[in-house]
């Protein structure tokens, strides 16, 4: 074993990355606007998009920081965030907000305000995708959107939500160009009515290949230039290596471990500069992709364990240097974070079904442990074959309390993929990305389309379709809560409202997908996504082998407790009437202590392994799942559900009055599939049992947050307790679990003295964030999430 801990180089780079503030970078906006002005109408849309990328990569400012080993920035320097006016053209008010808001702030330079006003807004203000989308949405859609029934992912950011496969490390862009050329030659203009579209797409892909190679070549030259000026012989040597690496990749496949990482990094820049896709892009099963290079280089004597770790750490810092594209409005609320959701999978099994843990897997765990960075999110896949040593090491890091790594169930992921129609090969190559979303890496476009506020549907149901937040009638008129004589009648009406709102959401989705497929192709991402070249079809138009659209259900804990409280108190035991309850909800329980006490303290709650509540959870879940799963999207794929919240459960709570589980007005609803806060009083095994009654394998991912105070998982017993909890949950088909191990006192202190806790990272939803960057209500929520002190 080499020495532990970051070395001086990594320490400096990390410090720079952690301390720099995010800024808005107008260079991309400038260069792509230039391209649009010059080429719009003269070339096909895919080619136009590819030319934008090429122009940006040909003209953008290069950056090689002191001591860096992996090079390339999306903007002109670390933490510089390019804008994407073709999707979302920020108004001056938006820029002011970004510049002035305390949380998730982006500094905007004086001259950039002017540039936006004089150059960007006049061109993009009316023609950006966001405008087009909103103008095509129905009145019903807009009313639901404003009421917080659902959110819309593609309103400010592009679809992406995908992850690279092992091919990224095996093919160079010259190889891709050959494949493209071959497909172009094969086009059948006589019999194939789509030949012309395919030609446009393939030509665009070819330009996109050139774009990334131009960027690498420029970096190679720049590194050589710096090497010439460099006086320190060691650094000179490094710069020359960097120059050589950039000459080799991404044009040709990587030959060394170092080049493999640099290869991925160029691709990452390509995907995230072409458009601002959700979840950026991810290197996939990194340990398995790197292990061949690692073993080769060690054998050749050109790499040792320390160097391998250092390179990974430099790589980690590059991710952290890229704040997620600036968001505003509802989109900011549903995802209030700098994190861009890169998610690295470690462990799991190999394509031929063997245990996938290798030397690089352990290195990655060490890197996670030492770096403690917001980005990338790192997770471990735990399979039945995963050695206990690996699981325990991951638990050891996780119990330090900053939320990483998260734990995923390999067998569940594979089964979920098989259930969704993937081949066993593609399933074994898959994993999770974003927060918890299951995907067939390299072969699938799996788009999150928006969150769906399940508890709010009950509120709408009780009040005959009326929404208190907007003061509008937005749902069906099926009668008031007190008109339903039985629980079954109420539940039936609730289900009808769910179906009604889902139809509105899906209709909107179809239109939006269509707009993206025609106006916003992504030729670069299409090059590296399997089958797009062969089909001559864009990623956004169904080019990938599999095409899934997800709608994420939020608030299953809250809705379960609401229905359980109503069933128990109103229908079964007749402790109070529905009218009294509805009055209490409208009064926010003011003066209704009797009702509040009964619903809070004397009703069954989800998260306690109590079938009285858990059966209701299943009923709601199954209705939601059946209403979504299997419906067709426009890309030849289907809709599926997953159950995750990011930070949307806070927003969804804001738009609601009090709910029947005792939750006060505007307070957050439950997150993921976790029980509502304070509802689980039977300890973590009961939580996990309740959660496992949901059919995880029919979803595309579920998210369970489990918070411990440090004492609970201290010592060897604590570690084993954690490991066993994970194993058992996974034996019962649980998809994901993550831990926050922090005591309440620490969090309250951090809330009061944010300056003293700059480093405090907590697990929020499918990602970790700096506690000080969370809104007060989200902080409160994390503080209140049940602490299991058993």
């Amino acid at each position: 074993m080499g020495e532990r801990g970051m070395n001086e180089r990594v320490r400096k780079l990390r410090k720079q990355s952690v301390e720099a503030g995010a800024i808005i970078d107008m260079e991309r906006a400038k260069l792509i606007t230039e391209t649009y002005k010059k080429m719009y109408g003269k070339v096909s849309t895919p080619e136009l998009r590819a030319l934008c990328l090429k122009n940006y990569f040909s003209g953008k400012t290069l950056y090689i920081g002191e001591g860096e080993l992996i090079v390339g920035e999306k903007g002109s320097q670390p933490l510089a965030a390019p804008t994407f006016p073709e999707l979302c053209c920020h108004s001056i008010a938006d820029l002011n907000l970004l510049n002035e808001r305390e949380l998730i702030n982006f500094c905007v330079k004086e001259k950039d305000f002017e540039f936006q006003e004089n150059e960007i807004i006049p061109y993009w203000g009316k023609r950006c995708i966001r405008n087009k989308i909103l103008s095509h949405m129905t009145k019903e859609w807009k009313e639901c959107y404003e009421a917080g029934i659902f959110t819309e992912f593609m309103e400010q950011r592009g679809p992406g939500h995908t992850v690279g496969s092992g091919n990224l490390y095996k093919k160079g862009f010259l190889d891709y160009k050959e494949e493209i050329k071959h497909e172009l030659e094969k086009l059948d203009y006589i019999n194939d009515k789509d030949a012309l579209d395919k030609e446009a797409e393939l030509k665009a892909m070819d330009i996109a290949c050139d774009a990334i190679m131009i960027l690498a070549k420029r970096y190679s030259e720049y590194a050589r230039e710096l090497a010439l000026k460099e006086t320190n012989p060691e650094r000179k040597e490094e710069l020359l290596c960097i120059a050589n690496n950039c000459e080799e990749v991404p044009a040709r496949p990587p030959k060394t471990y170092w080049q493999a990482i640099q290869m991925y990094w160029f691709i990452h820049l390509g995907v995230t500069s072409e458009i601002n896709p959700w979840d950026a892009f991810s290197p996939g099963r990194l340990d398995q992709h790197l292990i061949g290079f690692y073993r080769h280089d060690i054998k050749e004597g050109i790499l040792d364990e320390n160097k391998a770790k250092e390179l990974l750490e430099c790589f980690w810092i590059k991710f952290n240097n890229q704040p997620s594209p600036p968001k505003v409005g509802t989109t900011l609320k549903e995802s209030s974070t700098y994190t861009d959701f890169v998610n690295i999978n470690t462990g799991g099994i190999t394509p031929d079904g063997k245990d996938g843990v290798n030397e690089v897997s352990y290195l990655i765990l060490d890197v996670m442990d030492e770096m403690k960075l917001l980005q990338p999110s790192s997770n471990v896949q735990i399979s039945k074959k995963t050695p206990l040593r690996f699981l325990k090491r991951a638990c050891e890091i996780s119990r330090k309390g900053w939320g990483q790594p998260a734990f995923y169930n390999t067998e569940a992921i594979i089964q979920e993929l098989l259930n969704a129609g993937k081949s066993i090969n593609d399933a074994r190559l898959g994993g999770t990305s974003g927060c918890v979303e299951t995907g067939a890496f390299g072969n699938e476009s799996y788009i999150l389309t928006g969150y769906f506020n399940i508890p709010k549907i009950l509120e709408i149901t009780l009040f005959n379709g009326y929404d208190h937040y907007t003061g509008k009638q937005i749902g069906l008129s099926l009668g008031y809560g007190y008109d339903f004589d039985t629980y079954e009648e109420l539940f039936d009406a609730f289900c009808k409202q769910i179906d009604y709102f889902l139809d509105i959401k899906i209709r909107g989705n179809q239109v939006i997908e269509k707009i993206y497929s025609e106006d916003m192709p992504v030729p670069f991402l299409s090059v590296i996504t399997n089958d797009c070249i062969k089909k001559g079809k864009d990623y956004n138009a169904g080019g990938a082998r599999y095409n899934t659209s997800y709608i994420q259900g939020v608030g299953i804990g809250t809705i379960t407790d609401c229905l359980a409280a109503i069933k128990c108190n109103v229908y079964d035991n007749r402790k109070f009437s529905m009218k009294e309850l509805m009055n209490a909800l409208e009064q926010d329980y003011e003066g209704c202590d009797y009702i509040h006490n009964l619903v809070c303290n004397h009703s069954p709650k989800y998260g306690n392994d109590d079938d009285r509540a858990d059966d209701i959870m299943r009923a709601v879940f199954e209705h939601y799942m059946n209403a979504v799963n299997g419906r067709k999207n426009i890309k030849g794929g289907t809709y599926r559900i997953n159950m995750l919240p990011t930070t949307c459960h806070v927003y969804f709570g804001e738009v609601m009055i009090a709910s029947a589980n005792g939750r006060h007005a505007h307070k957050p609803v439950s997150e993921g599939i976790s029980p509502d806060k304070g509802a689980d009083t039977n300890g973590p095994t009961a939580v996990v049992k309740s959660c496992s009654k949901m059919d995880h394998l029919s979803t595309g991912g579920t998210l369970l947050n489990q918070k411990f105070t440090p004492g609970v998982v201290a010592g060897e017993e604590g570690l084993m307790g954690m490991a066993n909890l994970i194993r058992t949950y996974f034996n019962m088909d649980g998809h994901h679990i993550q831990f926050n191990v922090i005591d309440r006192k620490t969090l309250i202190d951090a809330q009061n003295h944010p300056e003293e806790y700059k480093d405090l990272i907590v697990r929020v939803a499918g990602y970790s964030d700096h506690f000080r960057n969370l809104s007060k209500s989200l902080q409160d929520e994390i503080i209140e999430r049940t602490e299991q002190t058993l």
Binding site: A686, N724, N731
Partner: protein, 291 residues
């Protein structure tokens, strides 16, 4: 009578376990952190800080005993009358079927971890033996490992009866000196030591637990005499756990209207615990752990 069923117990024997706390104990240890398990009868918990003085508890009380008078029979009427969760009943008779099914809920965790059930208290072996034996036989049939957490202060025939169904005895040694034992726990330790020797001779699996109480037995003399006791009597055991005192139980005294008798005790320092552990190892004892 049972006060609590605690799942995900990871400190009461091997693996992930469910600990069942029985009500009633023959000892009165001054450091006891489960005072609600001392008395054999149901009791009322009252959370003073949650009370808003609305008097709805008094209105429903048939015994004029809403605030801890002798007359309180812990009927529980006031618990549901309170809108602020200020009241709870401690102690519930649970039928064997119900208890077994509650325990079986966590079976997947026992299976993955080699865990099971720990019957604790109070003193579980001072409970109704028919009930206890039936419970243990039922668990045995279901293949669930059962640990007995005991202070040893019961007639030996009670211990003997449960041996066939017991995986491990978690056996407390609090003090070796008889007078000291009386002073701190209210009883003599003669029976406890005799029982331990007998149990060992019957080849039961024993896990010795030594509560280390700052100000009472956190000294080398104590561990020396424990070592002498174990070695001198050739007690066979699989593990010795040194359990540092903590005062987290002290807040519970007030809830049941008691005064905490352990204010003078303190939590031994980590390094002192290490010293005691090292000392035991020096004396030739094996498998000594803190916790």
């Amino acid at each position: 009578m049972i006060t609590d069923i605690q799942k995900f117990s990871i400190h009461d024997g091997k693996g992930t376990r469910t600990t069942v706390f029985f009500k009633g104990c023959p000892l009165r240890c001054k450091w006891c952190h489960n005072p609600e398990t001392q008395n054999y009868k149901r009791q009322l918990y009252f959370y003073k800080d949650r009370c808003r003085g609305c008097n709805s508890c008094q209105e429903v009380c048939k015994h004029q005993a809403a605030f801890f008078t002798q007359k309180c029979v812990a009927c529980g009427e006031c618990v549901t009358a309170c809108n602020y969760s200020a009241r709870k009943i401690c102690g519930r008779d649970i039928g064997i079927d119900e208890l077994v099914s509650e325990i079986m809920k966590d079976e997947p965790f026992y299976e993955a971890s080699g865990g099971g059930v720990t019957l604790s208290g109070g003193e579980v072996l001072s409970t109704d033996m028919d009930y206890l034996l039936k419970l243990m036989q039922e668990l045995y049939k279901n293949g669930i490992s059962v640990n007995i957490d005991t202070c040893g202060y019961v007639p030996f025939d009670r211990i003997e009866k449960v041996i066939p169904y017991t995986d491990t005895f978690l056996y407390d040694i609090k003090l070796t000196d008889s007078e000291e034992h009386i002073r701190y726990t209210g009883t003599d330790n003669k029976l406890i030591i005799e029982n331990l020797i007998k149990l060992s001779k019957l080849n039961a699996n024993i896990w010795i637990r030594l509560p280390i109480i700052g100000g009472a037995n956190d000294n080398e003399g104590h561990v020396n005499s424990v070592a002498e006791l174990l070695k001198g009597n050739e007690i066979s055991y699989s593990r010795i756990s040194l359990l540092p005192y903590h005062n987290t139980g002290s807040s519970k005294y007030e809830l049941i209207g008691y005064k905490y008798p352990g204010n003078d005790f303190y939590t031994p320092k980590e390094e002192d615990m290490e010293l005691l552990k090292d000392r035991m190892t020096e004396l030739g004892l094996v498998n000594v752990y803190i916790g």
